[in-house]
Amino acid sequence: MKNFLFLIPFFLFLHPVLAQNKKHTLLLNTGTQNTWERDFAYSPLVYAGSNAGFTLGFSGEGHKKTDEVYIHYSRLPLQNQFNAEMSATHASIMTYTFYKWDWLPRQLNLGWSNNNALSLRNYQDSQNFNPRFDFHTSFGPAARFQTYFGKQQQWRFASQAHLQVIGFLFSASYITSPPDPFLHEQSTFNAFMQSISLFQPFRQHDLGMMNQLFYQLTNGNEIGIGYRWHYTSLENAHRSQRSGGHYFFQLNFQL
């Protein structure tokens, strides 16, 4: 219990931040997503391709704290250099929490992020144990730089980045799609608990960055363009790697 006492001042600090009035925004974006992916359980070759990616987001911005949630989905037909095909499905819920510290320049916010990401890989030439998958939940620091410009400060440029350092990983096994504990008789809960492994710093990697440029309309809504990049490398029974760049057009609606 003593170990958790340090949380008390943290929550005391957090309360005024949570209690403040916030500006809420709904975010919608879509655009081309370029991706490459490699799963050493099946192939040392890189599969690459592009398709449309979609994101639904929500932002709550207060004087001291900003919360952002991005729900992203994309389904991509990827090919290797020999034209073998793989269907990749990516889904993620990414959250950012940024704090405005007095000791930092006004444009710079620091905070933390949480990524909950699923990757499914369906190889055309693999008849069994398909699709292979990874799911990870991870946490790490995040930073955001945001500046306004233009005669009426109607332009906004934001750049934010995250690096995940700790979390959990749930992924396909050495041979099969389901993790090994699901292959013998025991409760689903036990099998699930035994399948979870630690997202370890330096062994697993998840980092990303997002640049956005917005123009504010007279009604307070924003239109903009952006680029979101991520890189993930996970090692469990085998190593899998993927990276994607999403070029998007975005609408922000004030709620």
């Binding site: 490459w36 099946y42 030439d125 069994n128 440029f157 750049s159 050495y174 292959l183 013998h184 680029y227």
Partner: protein, 339 residues
């Protein structure tokens, strides 16, 4: 002050532009695909994940010593393919293949040196004739008041409606003969579709385990393989199942299901095996390959990889019946003799 702001914005735009296409900048290079690299990749992956080294007493390291000197950097793709195919053939496993755009290596020793005791022309002329029923993928005919079901490939789907019809037909027949000779396998689901209509209670028929690491003994714990009864009408009478050495993979699993069934009896020759589920993978030069990644044993701990033995072996030349299929005749006799 104004100049500083302009410089700042210029730097920002530069940074934002520079960080675009990051995914392409960090994309890994293609792996080396020289004959040596391809050989090493294939040997190593099979070494790590193939599931029957101990059971087949294969020294994979010594196999490498034999085939590695045959690899040289300037060899043509078809020459490399032949060496790799021959190396994989050392595993004597029908679930091991190398696939390229120009060939597919294989080892069919599990049936090539054995008589198959299956003559399709004889079956068509004497037993199926021209008025047989086609129930989904099954050819069905009445033979001596028994229902004869000829099923050529487990790749062809059997629906519940197909099995409803088979069960309905059993009202008018004294026994059921399922002929899966020379059936090379396919989807295990089809085997379950048949077997689940022949039982009233859940039945454990085998146990299975999967590789979990590179060590020869790295496996999951054994897990029971079961058949669960389907809802709907069932046939619980006697079943004769005909197999031969070319009954492979899912057909071996089906034979084992039937062997575990008290009212079923296997006739003919043992199945060819194929008790390991094939894992698929890809080489740095784009060729694909597959190999067994699991083991399955019967209830007496015998590996299905080496085939399911029949209850009544009919391979002796003296048992042949000119102009007739002696497997079918033996099955009919058994079905008639013990009602």
């Amino acid at each position: 002050m104004r100049q500083l702001r302009i410089i700042n914005r210029f730097l920002l735009i530069f940074l934002a532009t520079w960080t675009m296409s990051c995914e392409e900048i960090i994309a890994p290079k293609s792996p080396e695909s020289s004959p040596r690299a391809v050989f090493e990749h294939l040997w190593q992956d099979v070494n790590n994940r193939y599931s029957f080294f101990e059971e087949k007493q294969i020294d994979w390291e010594s196999v490498k010593q034999i085939y590695s000197p045959l690899i040289h950097e300037n060899m043509e793709p078809d020459a490399l393919f032949d060496v790799l195919g021959e190396m994989l053939a050392e595993l004597e496993d029908g679930h091991v293949n190398l696939l390229s755009t120009f060939n597919r290596s294989r080892n069919w020793s599990w049936y090539e040196n054995f008589p198959l005791f299956y003559d399709q022309q004889l079956i068509d002329d004497i037993y199926l004739r021209t008025d047989f029923r086609i129930v989904g993928p099954m050819h069905v005919q009445t033979v001596d008041n028994m229902l004869y079901v000829n099923y050529r490939s487990f790749e062809r789907r059997i629906s519940q409606a197909n099995m409803d019809e088979i069960i309905r037909l059993m009202q008018f027949h004294e026994g059921l003969i399922i002929d899966v000779r020379s059936n090379g396998g396919g989807s295990l689901q089809n085997a379950h579709s048949i077997a689940s209509r022949l039982i009233e209670q859940e039945l454990t028929y085998a146990r299975q385990r999967f590789k979990t690491g590179p060590g020869n003994t790295d496996f999951t714990p054994w897990a029971n393989l079961r058949i669960t009864p389907q809802s709907g009408e069932k046939y619980l009478g006697k079943v004769a199942v005909l197999t031969n050495r070319r009954s492979y993979s899912s057909t071996t699993f089906f034979a084992q299901m039937m062997k575990a069934l008290p009212q079923a009896r296997l006739f003919g020759d043992q199945t060819g095996g194929g008790g390991g589920i094939p894992v698929f993978a890809e080489l740095p030069n784009g060729w694909t390959y597959r190999f067994s990644g699991s083991q399955t044993v019967d209830l007496d701990e015998v590996q299905l990889e080496f085939g399911v033995q029949v209850d009544q072996l009919l391979t002796h030349p003296s048992e042949l019946m000119p102009g007739k299929d002696h497997f079918i005749e033996a099955a009919v006799s058994w079905l008639k003799s013990n009602p």
